[in-house]
Each structure stands twice: as C-alpha cells, then as structure tokens.
Symmetry: C2
C-alpha cells in the first residue's frame, strides 16, 4: 500500500491496464486537487480577517466528504481513512521541525520558564480536571462502559492543543511574546500529552499511589531531557559534517538533502528509543538554524528556508483537509447509535471541559508567575492571559489521532461508546478549529493591538537589550571595543540576580563564541557574502 | 501502513508504548541512516572516476541486506519489500519532473527526431529481439512453463532502460548532444516499454495479426499525444494561475507548493486516465521551467530549482538503496530452486539479449539517420553511436518493478520459473548498474573527450545559431534592431528546407513571444530584477 490507505488493500492488476491501484490513484488525485483548491482559495481569502488556511481546508474537506458520501450513495465515506501512522510518521515531523527552524530563538529562550510551566504543569492540571470532569459528567449522560483508563485517556486526548492552527492565527511579528509563549507551550504540550497518554496506557491502574505520580514525573523529566539532547546532538552533527566536509564545494543539493534527512532521522530515532520525537525534531530545528544553516551555500540557505516552510505548509493543509474529510466517518456515526441529544451533550461536555481545563491553569499559573516578578513591565497582563487562554483552545490532528488510537479497537469499552467518543472528539475538533479559530484573529485585534501603549513583549525586549549592553560594557568584551577597565564584581552579580535571563544569555553567547561556533560553524565563522538576501539579519541567537 | 511496507502489517499498540508500528520505525531509521551514509560517501567519492552515487547506494543497500539477513538469522531479508506502488506513485514522478524542469530545452527539441526514433522504434526493435531471443534460448536452458505472454513481457521488461543512472553518468555540460539523446531516449523509452507491457497484458494473444500491430501503434500514438498535451496543459495552467493571481504578493511558500502539487497532480491525472504519467510529468516540467518559473518571486526561483533537484536526488538514491536491499529477497531465491548454473545461464542470456537488442537499433537507426543527412557535421559519428549504445545498457528500478508486477503472483507460470525470472532480473540490474555504470564515465573520457576537435554537438550548435541569426536578419525581426528591409521569400523557404529544426525554432519563438508569453508569463514578461542569481542565463527556450 502507498501513502494513503485507500481500499481495497490488494491491488488488482487485471482490472486496469496500469500497475497502480486505481482506488489509490483516485484518492491521490482528489486529494491533490483539493490541496490546489485550498492554496488558491487561501490566497484569495488572505485579506479576510475571519478566514484562514486551516478553516478553508477543513471546510473544503468536509464538502469533499459529503460529495464522496453522495457518490458512493451513503455506503461509505472511507475513500480516505484517518491513519495515525501517516500523521505521526510523515505529516507532523516537518511541521514541528520547521517551527523550530523558523522560531525566533531569542524570544523563545527568554520565555522558556513560562513556556515550560504552561506546557508541563498546565497540561497536567488540564489533564486532571478533564479526566475528573468526564468521570462526573458521563455518568449523568448515561455512558457506563468506560473504565478508569478510558477517562484518563480522554483527559490526555483533550489536553493536546493544536500548535498548527496557532501558528496560522498568531503573528510572530505583531505579537512576539504571545506567539512564542502560545506556540512554545503547544510544542511542549504535545510532548506532555503524548507522554501522559503513553503513561496511561502502560501504567497499572489498579493500585495508584503517590509513588505513581512521582514515577510519572520522573518519566516525563527523563523523556524531556533525553529527547532534547538527541535533537541537539543531531543538529550539531549535521553542522559538523557539513562544515568539515565542506559540501558546498560540490553540490548544493547534497547539503539540503543531508539537512532534511538528518532532521527526519532524529525524529525517527527518538521514536525508536520511545522518546518524544516532537521535542527532538523541534530542538534539532533550532540547532540547525543556529549552526548548520550558516555553514551551507547561499543558495542552500534560501532553499532550505523556503523549502522547509513549503513542506510544512503542505503538511498542515493536508492534515486539515484530512480531518475534514474524515469527519464523515459514516461507520463510526452509525455504530455509535447515539441520539442527537446524547451526541450534543457529550460534545458540549467535552468543549466545556476544554474551556475550563485551560482557563484553570492559564490564569492561575500566570498570576503565580506575576506574584514572583517585581518589575511591573515583565508581568503578564490580564488581556494577554485571556489571549493565551483563547489561542490554545483549538484541538487538532493530535487529538484525533490519539482518540482513534484509544477507541478504534478497544476491547473493554462497548463499540457504541467507543464510536461515540470518536465522533464527539471529531465534533470538538471541528467546532474549536472553525469557531474559536475564526474568532481568534479579530479578537486579538480587538483586545491587544488597538492599545497603543507598548506591550509587555516590547518592554522586556528593551530591558534585556539594555542589560546586555551594560554587561558587555562592564566586562569589557574585547570584541566590543577598547573599554577594558576591570569590572566591579558586585555589580556583575547584582545584575545576574536581577536579570537572570539576560545574564544567562550573555554567558551562553560567550561560550558559543569561544567553543561552539569555531567547531560547528555559525554566523561569523564561515565566509560571509556581503549583501546577500539571506534574511539572517532579523535573527538573533 | 506507511510509506514503506514493513511487516507485520497490523501494528500492535500493546507491544510498545508508542503509537507507531515499531517495525516501520526501525525500517525508516535504517533507511534514512543509510541515505545519510550514501550522501556522505558519495560526496567523498566525488572525484573518483569509477564510482558514482548509484553504485554507492546499490552496494550499501546490498551490505545492509546482508546484515539484516544475518541478524534475522537467514529467516528473512524482508524488512523492506520492493513495492511497485511506492516506486510508481512517489519516487519516479519527482525524478522525471526534475529532469524535465532542468533539461536544456533547446538541445532537447533540436534532437527531438533522433530521440523519438530511438525511444519509440528502438524500443520496439529491442522488445521484438529480446522476446524472440528469450523464446529461443530458454527452451535450451530448460525453462518450459513460460507462455507466450511471459516471453513478450520479458521483452518489454528488459527493454526499459534506466534514465536515472544515465543522468548521473553523463554530463549535460561536457557532452550536451549525447546527454540529451540518451536521456531523452530514456524518458520516451520508459513510456514506450510501459505501454508495450500494458499492451501485452491486455491484448488477446491467441490471434495476432497485422491489425494487432497497427492497433498497438495507434495506442502508442494516442498515449504519446494525449499524455504530452495533459502535461503541457497542467504546466500552462500553473503559469496562468500564478501570473494572474500574483501569488508572490503574499507568500513564496504558496507559489512553491502550488508548483509542486500541480506537477504531481498532472502525473496522477495521467495515471487515472491510463495515460503515461512519465511523459506527462516530463512535459509539465518543461513547460513549468519555461513559463511558471519566470512568474514567481526570486526566492521561489532559487528554491524550486534546488528543492526539485534535491527531492529528485533523494528519490534516486532511495531507489538504488531499495533495489540493493531488495536483491536479497531470500524467499524468491529459495523458491526459485534453480542451480547456480541455471541462474547464471538465464542471467547471462538476459544480459546478452540486452546487449544485442540495444546494439541492433542504435547502430542501424543511427546509420539510417546519417544516410538522410547531407552535412557531414550533423551526422552521428561511430564513436558517439558507441556511447549511446553503452550508456543505455543500464537497467534499473522500472525493470524490477515490471518484473515483480509480471511474475510475483503469476497464475499460469510455475512458482519456480517465476522466481527464477525475478532473481535473474535482479542480477541483470545489479550487474549492469555496477559494472556497466562504473565503466561508462572512464569510457566516455577515453572515447570522446581526449579528441580535441569539436564534437558533433558543438558543430551543430554553431550552425544552428548562425541560421537563426540569418533568419532573424532576413526577416527583420523588430526586436533585433533596425534592419527592416523586406526579406526575399525564396531564401526563407530554402533555409526552412535546409535547416528545418532551426526554422521551426524560429517560428516557435515568434509564436511564443506574440501569444504565449503575454498570456502565461515567461522570461521578459515579468518584472525582472537585474543581477539576481537566478541561473537563468544559461537557459534558452
């Protein structure tokens, strides 16, 4: 079988004069034609404030699903079945890698503590609340066959936010602070919810105690660090190979191919070692953009920048189209046998739990963080908290993939309830993407941008730059000019206590310049062609 | 199932804590690690005259196959089974599209008659000879269960040359004439042999007469023209959409994505309509590089140029790695039950037939063409004929794919003989790629390049350029300056008779400038950024 799971599975050479399975070819044709339509329609709707590419793809996929359903006379909409393998093996890695490759690294690392807090503890809070809520509500709706494992799985499934849609709704240039927090949280959240889900699958749930919770935390920390390290190592290896062997001498194509393949390999290796491939490939992207990207030829730089973005864009559109088409999984709808009332109650319960679960951790953790911050300018305003809450409400392909994985051939749960869980998840994904997604852009405009005063992000930006300048001056950095008087140690320490992020950044820069860049390349350590359109100027390490 | 057909087919969630099928992940890891190794080794061997990337990949694949065989203790080498769908759906299209996209269009169309003649009639001659030869020889070796359809299929299978390896062995800059002839022939040959193979499958072979042959020719001509037209239409459509909607305004990524997807869609549509997808996507590539490529932004131009080449490069390496790993298809080797002697005889017979079949048409058709040409400089020298013969001897993935398609679950032929056919085909592919492939580069150096006198290609190049200048001057082309005196019709006609290709080219240029480019864009009809590194200067339409 090929890329898409078309049916029938065995191809029949005798039927057609071609070697190819006709059903697969039809499915691919339909799919790529829809992709073209999405791109063109997305382009035409560019100026439109309510629409975005995700919503277009989702709705177009739904329409196509209806057409397929009508053409097959209601027998089946299963020309394309949602396939977790396809999603996790081929569609998700390029999206996350590109996110790491294009992310503004300085913003990301400056907000690293907030991101980690939201991504890890936030997801855990949401997971607990949603599981508990589902447990309480479902009894009342009349769903009885779910066991405790299923409830915990529901918690993990509904806690997985959709980082893909966030990328399209928030703008890195206009709202850098929000973008980096919401998107960064999304990446960490993906990892956390998948870890939680796997933990739920593997844990022995008959005897839960405090030790289990500690074990879970231990597993998470282990996964987080090993995954990160693997990604960093893969990125550094690619930088070292390309720098040492000087690939550009012979061929631009080899450089690009090596970058692509090593990034993908890092994801696969992480999966092989049962780590979080998402985290690995994300950090691999960050390292590659910091070192490897500067070691390749000018053409390769332009090519990688745009080719990675294009592949990621195609994968994103593909996913939404897929989810849209798959929503009409007629077999599931039939076998759920639920009345419209039950379906609506379960879906509403899901949506309410998502809203409450996210509100609970965003507002509480933000205020906790604000409590520990002295400077008024670095606090997270209520308006920003609101946006962070809202922008992370969308649920997407990870949710659907996990839901299919849990409920598609469950042995303990009844077929009816399993099907109901899947269809309700699909409704939540459709509703949250279309409704929440289309409101987000205008909402951000209304809440944030019309306020003319500088937002938190700008304020902290200026502060940190000033600190850095101060530090540079006081330490008499040789690269910075002849200001060589010895610096008073006390002031240095005071700064470190006051601005830990900036100081860490300064020491990282020193380490990077002294040890890392000479070995792995990077900006300033490879021949630089002046005036070249690399787009590197807006990037800071 | 995913991209690679790993076994077992059904993934077992319970076994691992991850969602992904472990076998698939292992296979992908192994494969991408080998791809990395291929790229690095290929880079290191760049200066080496005997080696090239195909051979490296093939040998590395073989080694990996041996390792897999040893690790699985001889039980199976089937961690990766050769899959025709994967090959025809995902690996071949980008290679052929890129070939069309990067081909020197002027050279290609100037040699169009030779290319068509070799590609169509040559393949048919080879097909007849190989089929007849196999029929005569196999009786003597002791293979009895093959029927007439199988012999004809063998003819078609062994007539499919490997255009991928040719691309790596010949150099477009050094030997433009040979490159365009051998490679162009390879593309047309792919189409012809697949058409022949399909015809053999569908024809009623119990009563063959002259009408059948005519019908075959009719089918071929129909396929050739409709496929070409489909490719041209797809290319023009992409040019028109991108030019009219002015995609570059918003996003470079959308342009690149649209080009990729429309190219792929053209291939799929052709396959859906039972046309030759290879021809379609090849001409789509040509049209896209002539029109669409000039309508996109500067970054998109660089990106498409390198990204398409990279994807094609990865697909090529992938194929050879795949063929190498698949060569140790232990089940086939076992079920063939043939003695080493029989295997060697069949393989030798195959190789001899390939050599003779190709020699028969290359030398005869070349001399036929020479006979009709008056100018000494435009004739195909014997040395060149020799290279054309040699460079087309390699057999590759198309051969293996067709062989599996014919013999892997044949009902009429005995399992033993079917397996023997497949294993012998694999031997032919390995031998021809490694031995013939590694000799080709030094051979070309020895036969052609040490002769200092201008080769045919250069000579005709100069001639045609002169004609063009003459024509331009005599017709007083307004774009060429103020030379506006009316041209004598007689001389114009005489030139057309004498240099049909150049004249056709001249009229095409006029038509192109007047009707096509204003509508579909193209060089000179879109805002041009001077001094930009597009690499467009070496291309002529």
């Amino acid at each position: 079988m090929g890329f898409l799971d078309a049916i029938p599975n065995k191809h029949s050479l005798q039927d057609s004069s071609s070697f190819l399975n006709t059903t697969t070819v039809i499915a691919l044709c339909l799919f790529f034609a829809l992709l073209c339509a999405c791109i063109v329609i997305g382009h035409l709707l560019e100026e439109h404030r309510w629409a975005n590419e995700s919503i277009t793809a989702l709705l177009l996929g739904l329409c196509a699903g209806v057409v397929v359903l009508l053409v097959s006379k209601g027998r089946s909409s299963k020309i394309l079945a949602f396939n977790e393998d396809l999603f996790f093996l081929y569609l998700l890695p390029p999206i996350i890698f590109n996110a790491g490759f294009q992310v503004k690294k300085k913003q990301f690392f400056k907000n690293f503590s907030i991101i980690l807090m939201f991504g890890v503890f936030g997801t855990i809070i949401s997971f607990c609340l949603v599981s508990a809520g589902a447990f309480l509500l479902f009894k009342k709706i009349g769903i009885t066959t779910l066991n405790i494992e299923d409830y915990l799985a529901v918690g993990a499934i509904l806690s997985a936010t959709d980082s893909v849609c966030t990328l399209q709704v928030l703008n890195q240039e206009e709202t850098p602070f929000l973008y980096s927090v919401v998107f960064g949280e999304g990446v960490v959240n993906d990892a956390t919810s998948i870890v939680l889900y796997n933990a739920v699958q593997s844990l022995d749930l008959s005897n839960i105690d405090a030790l289990t919770a500690l074990k879970l935390l231990g597993t998470f920390l282990y996964l987080f660090f090993t995954s990160t390290i693997l990604g960093v190592v893969a990125g550094l290896l690619s930088a070292y190979i390309i720098k040492t062997l000087y690939f550009g001498r012979h061929s631009t194509d080899r450089e690009v191919a090596l970058m692509m393949i090593m990034a993908y390999l890092s994801y696969m290796l992480a999966e092989l070692l049962s780590l979080s491939g998402i985290l690995t490939v994300f950090f691999c992207g960050i390292v590659m953009s910091h070192y490897t990207w500067h070691n390749v030829t000018e053409s390769s730089r332009i090519t990688t920048k745009h080719a990675f973005a294009t592949i990621s864009f195609i994968a994103e559109t593909f996913i939404f189209l897929y989810v849209g088409m798959d929503a009409l999984d007629i077999d599931k709808w039939r076998s759920s046998k639920a009345s419209a009332g039950t379906s609506v109650s379960v879906s509403s319960a899901f949506l309410a739990l998502v809203l409450i679960g996210r509100a609970a951790f965003v507002f509480s953790l933000s205020n906790l963080l604000n409590f520990f911050k002295s400077a008024e300018s670095t606090k997270v305003e209520f308006r920003q908290q609101f946006i962070i809450w809202w922008a992370g409400l969308m649920r997407g392909a990870v949710t659907i993939a996990l839901s299919y994985s849990e409920f598609s051939d469950s042995e303990t749960t009844s077929t009816q309830d399993s099907a109901l869980m899947i269809t309700s998840t699909i409704i939540v994904v459709l509703f949250s993407t279309v409704v929440f997604g289309s409101i987000t852009k205008p909402l951000i405009g209304a809440v944030l941008l019309r306020h003319a005063k500088p937002t938190v992000s700008d304020a902290t930006d200026i502060a940190s730059l000033e600190d850095l300048r101060l530090l540079f001056l006081e330490n008499g950095d040789p690269s910075d000019g002849g200001n060589n008087q010895p610096s008073p140690k006390a002031s240095n320490l005071r700064l470190l206590m006051r601005y830990p992020t900036s100081t860490a950044h300064y020491f990282w820069r020193k380490f990077d310049d002294k040890y890392m860049r000479p070995m792995f390349g990077g900006r300033g350590f490879v021949p630089y062609v002046p005036g070249s359109p690399t787009g590197a100027q807006d990037e800071t390490s």
